[in-house]
């Protein structure tokens, strides 16, 4: 049988702003058979999205295909004219982007955007296109398929929007669909529905697909074959089951081992041994946004009567989906969003609700680290300045003593001391997150609030950051509040896990009892929705009753 896609020795080069030419894709070759779904997997910077985009003859700005060929149904995409490529996009190849929210025009009705491909290519009359779109909505298990198209993008949920963007890609009846991390931005419970819809519609229509992801467990559910990439080169190609169970390449092994849940095991059980005052105690906190109402509570209440305890030297995990209020809890504890009611106690002492009213000493003892190191580090200041400021601010360090302490901090987070002269933009994502952490350490805190600090990192890098956190805890006697949506990271570091939903505490569990010890139906649903490294997992779990 002839292959639908044949990629031979593909090479892509990028020109940086400074004029340097870097090879991004270094001679990649693989095939896709008709009706087959091939996953491209790798860390950020591995070139997986770049390869996927070249299938449409597109490269990002500054990049250029410099060699090789991409045969799509026998035609070379690389040597096509731009007009030929345009004719091909949407009808031969279609693209489902990572962020559906950014891909839809907020001012137009959904159906008009979904049928746009048919309109541009003039492949079918509008009435027929609309009927086909409604068929697709039904196939993708969207609620109210007849009328959902009349809504605007902000009137549907994130998971629905992602399925609608798949409908947009499928309307032209392409032979090949490119999925670029379509479920990465979704919650686990939503991800299941979207994956299931994608899988059934692809199988039903016999379309071939390229699924780009960094998540092996997600890929295991949907792909027939997996291409493992690193640094623009193919490491290993194989059937999904083979890659998962008998990986041949050491890098694939590394990826798989970063995925295995590692439960945090301590010699003694500090939770039970500790009867003293908890280092951080939150009780009956109500917080939210907007003006205060008659009941002295904010108009839009996010946290409803939330409480938690953190013993000294222990770690508390807070887990929940987006909108569960877990980040708001961190902001309320840090005083960035003063709670309307309730108490926050540090070492048994009551903290003022707003950070502006707290003493410098209280502020020093409680530090917060944010998720996105890109936005948490001032791009205009050098790493040395960023780390030096809390030293001067809290400890009054100056001159040589300050320089020495900056070097020490960089060493603590395993970064070379020469890094202090660099700007944040010159660092990789993992390095930035380490600097972000070092800034919190500069204060010599007792409690660090970690708000999704590993979510934006690749699995291997995230695992290294978690190891670093554990080491620092041993050395510096820290306690962490670890907020995440990812159960495996929480399990890897926490003693106790608090499950949140809709701004309320669902239940608090010992980490070693996870995930089977969950009793509340919501926690069970949450834990069951986490994809497993197992090809049959998606088909086994029962559909969620919406």
């Amino acid at each position: 049988m002839q292959n639908l896609v044949e990629i031979r020795d593909l090479r892509v080069k990028a020109t940086t702003d400074a004029g340097n030419v870097l090879p991004i894709i270094k001679g990649v070759s693989f095939d896709i058979a008709p009706g087959e779904i091939v996953a491209l997997i790798g860390e950020s910077g591995s070139g997986k999205t770049t390869i996927a985009l070249t299938l449409m003859g597109h490269t990002r700005k500054g990049c250029e295909i410099t060699g090789g060929e991409i045969l799509l149904s026998g035609q070379d995409v690389v040597r096509m004219t731009e007009a030929q490529r345009q004719a091909m996009r949407g009808t031969e190849v279609a693209y489902v982007p990572q962020s559906a929210a950014a891909a839809f025009n907020p001012a137009l009705r959904l159906i008009d955007q979904v049928v746009e491909v048919a309109k541009i290519h003039g492949t079918m009359p509008m009435a027929e296109a609309r009927a086909k779109a409604i068929d697709l909505f039904r196939a993708l298990a969207l609620p109210d398929p007849e009328t959902i198209g009349n809504r605007y993008p902000h009137q549907v949920s994130g998971g629905q929007l992602q399925r609608l963007s798949a409908a947009m890609a499928l309307i032209g009846g392409p032979k090949l669909v490119i999925f670029d991390e379509p479920t990465t931005a979704l919650d686990v419970t939503t991800q299941i529905e979207v994956l299931r819809a994608f899988k059934s519609v692809m199988k039903e229509r016999g379309m071939a697909g390229v699924y780009v992801s960094h998540d092996l467990a997600v890929v295991a559910q949907i792909a027939d074959r997996i291409v493992v990439l690193k640094g623009g080169e193919v490491q290993e190609i194989g059937a999904t089951a083979q890659i998962l169970h008998h990986p041949a390449h050491p890098y694939t092994n590394e990826l798989l081992s970063a995925f295995e849940p590692r439960t945090f095991a301590r010699a003694a059980d500090p939770v039970a041994a500790n009867a003293q005052v908890p280092v951080l105690e939150v009780s009956h906190v109500f917080a939210g946004y907007g003006p205060l109402g008659a009941d002295r509570l904010p108009h839009k209440l996010v946290l409803k009567d939330v409480g938690c305890r953190l013993e000294k030297g222990c770690n508390l995990g807070v887990i929940g989906e987006s909108g569960s209020g877990k980040s708001t809890l961190a902001r309320a504890i840090a005083g960035l969003l003063p709670p309307a009611k309730g108490k926050v106690l540090l070492n048994g002492e009551l903290l003022e609700p707003a950070s502006a009213q707290r003493s410098k000493e209280d502020l020093r003892r409680l530090q917060i680290v944010f998720q996105l190191a890109d936005t948490a580090l001032n791009p205009a200041r050098s790493i040395g300045d960023i780390l030096g400021r809390p030293l001067t601010f809290y400890h009054g360090l100056k001159g040589a003593a300050r320089q020495a302490r900056i070097a020490e901090l960089l060493e603590m987070v395993r970064l070379p001391r020469t890094m202090m002269h660099r700007l944040p933009a010159e660092l990789s994502g993992g390095q930035k997150q380490r600097v972000n952490l070092a800034r919190a350490l500069a204060a010599n805190p007792e409690v660090i609030l970690c708000d999704e600090i590993t979510s934006a990192l690749d699995t291997v890098v995230a695992a290294a950051v978690i190891d670093l956190l554990k080491e620092l805890q041993r050395e510096l006697d820290l306690s962490y509040v670890f907020i995440s949506h990812d159960l495996s990271t929480v399990q890897a570091i926490c003693d106790e896990v608090m499950v949140m939903n809709g701004g309320e505490t669902v239940e608090t569990l010992r980490a070693r009892d996870l995930p089977d010890g969950a009793r509340h139906p919501y926690s069970r649903l949450l834990f069951d929705s986490i994809p497993q490294l197992d090809t049959g997992w998606l088909d086994r779990i029962p559909a969620r009753v919406a």
């Binding site: 530090q367 936005t375 001032n378 791009p379 205009a380 200041r381 400021r389 601010f393």
Partner: protein, 280 residues
């Protein structure tokens, strides 16, 4: 194509050719403003030519004006007014506007509301009319002119800086600094300002040009620089009658204004990336 200038802090602030050329022109006019009057061949108020709108001769390097005065001397003298007053006014307007704008964005609340509405009100008064009334009431002197021009252009600078600062204020690094307990002066000078230098400098360039133009307008109405002295704007206005004769008296001050304003903007647009936008 780029030239490097050895700078004390670090060798290698690179300026491209356009920027270097613009810097030279700006430097030239700045020097002229400072030392020019010592090189005036004639008194700027003295009638030295029997003809008006005279051509370029070896006596009168840039011809003569509508009364037969030496244009070269008058342009040298005008440089001091135009460059000096405009520069002082633009620095005053932008510095206070940017600082107030950032403070308003960071503190929010009533401070922001009161300041914003106040400047909106100020903005609603036509700038020429406001200048006219103010100068007519207080009397024309150079400090008054600088102050009036600064006040007229302050609300714009405030709005611009506030709009930029509001966006930067929501970034996590500002939140981190706030959680650390930093006060407003640190927040605006160290966390916010370095991330908006590029757009703010561009705004300074644009505002400089507006001020040069408004100053000429005021001078034309007799409220700016008082005769026999004149800034470049008034030189153009008073010699506009020479236009049909292609007199150098009208071309030369126009060229002076054009070179200065264009160079200021080109210089700012081509500043080394390290100064303009460190984050890039």
């Amino acid at each position: 194509m780029a030239v490097s200038f050895p700078t004390p802090r670090r060798l290698g602030y690179r300026l491209n050719w356009t920027g270097a050329l613009a810097a030279l022109v700006v430097l030239f006019w700045a020097l002229t403003a400072i030392i020019g009057p010592w090189f005036m061949p004639h008194d700027p108020g003295e009638i030295v030519d029997f003809d008006f709108f005279g051509p370029i001769t070896d006596q009168l390097w840039l011809g003569s004006d509508y009364l037969g005065r030496d244009m070269f001397s008058r342009i040298l003298m005008g440089a001091r007014y135009t460059v000096g007053i405009s520069l002082a006014a633009v620095v005053l307007a932008c510095a206070s506007g940017v600082i107030l704008g950032m403070t308003a964005a960071v503190s929010g609340g009533w401070f922001d509301t009161v300041l914003s509405r106040l400047f909106d009100a100020l903005n609603s008064i036509p700038s020429k009319l406001f200048g006219l009334v103010m100068v007519a009431a207080v009397g024309s002197s150079i400090p008054v002119l600088i102050l009036v021009l600064a006040v007229i252009y302050l609300p714009g600078a405030f709005r611009f800086a506030r709009a930029l600062a509001v966006n930067i204020n929501t970034m996590d690094y500002v939140t981190v600094a706030r959680a650390r307990g930093e006060r407003t002066p640190y927040l605006i000078m160290n966390e916010i300002l370095p991330n908006m230098t590029g757009p703010v400098l561009a705004d300074v360039g644009l505002r400089f040009v507006f001020i040069v133009l408004l100053l000429s307008g005021l001078s034309f109405l007799g409220l700016g620089v008082q005769p026999p002295y004149a800034d470049w704007g008034s030189l153009v206005r008073e010699n506009i009658g020479g236009l049909p004769f292609a007199a150098p008296a009208v071309i030369m001050p126009s060229l002076a204004i054009a070179t200065l304003t264009i160079s200021v903007n080109l210089l700012i647009d081509n500043l080394p990336t390290k100064i303009r936008d460190r984050s890039e």
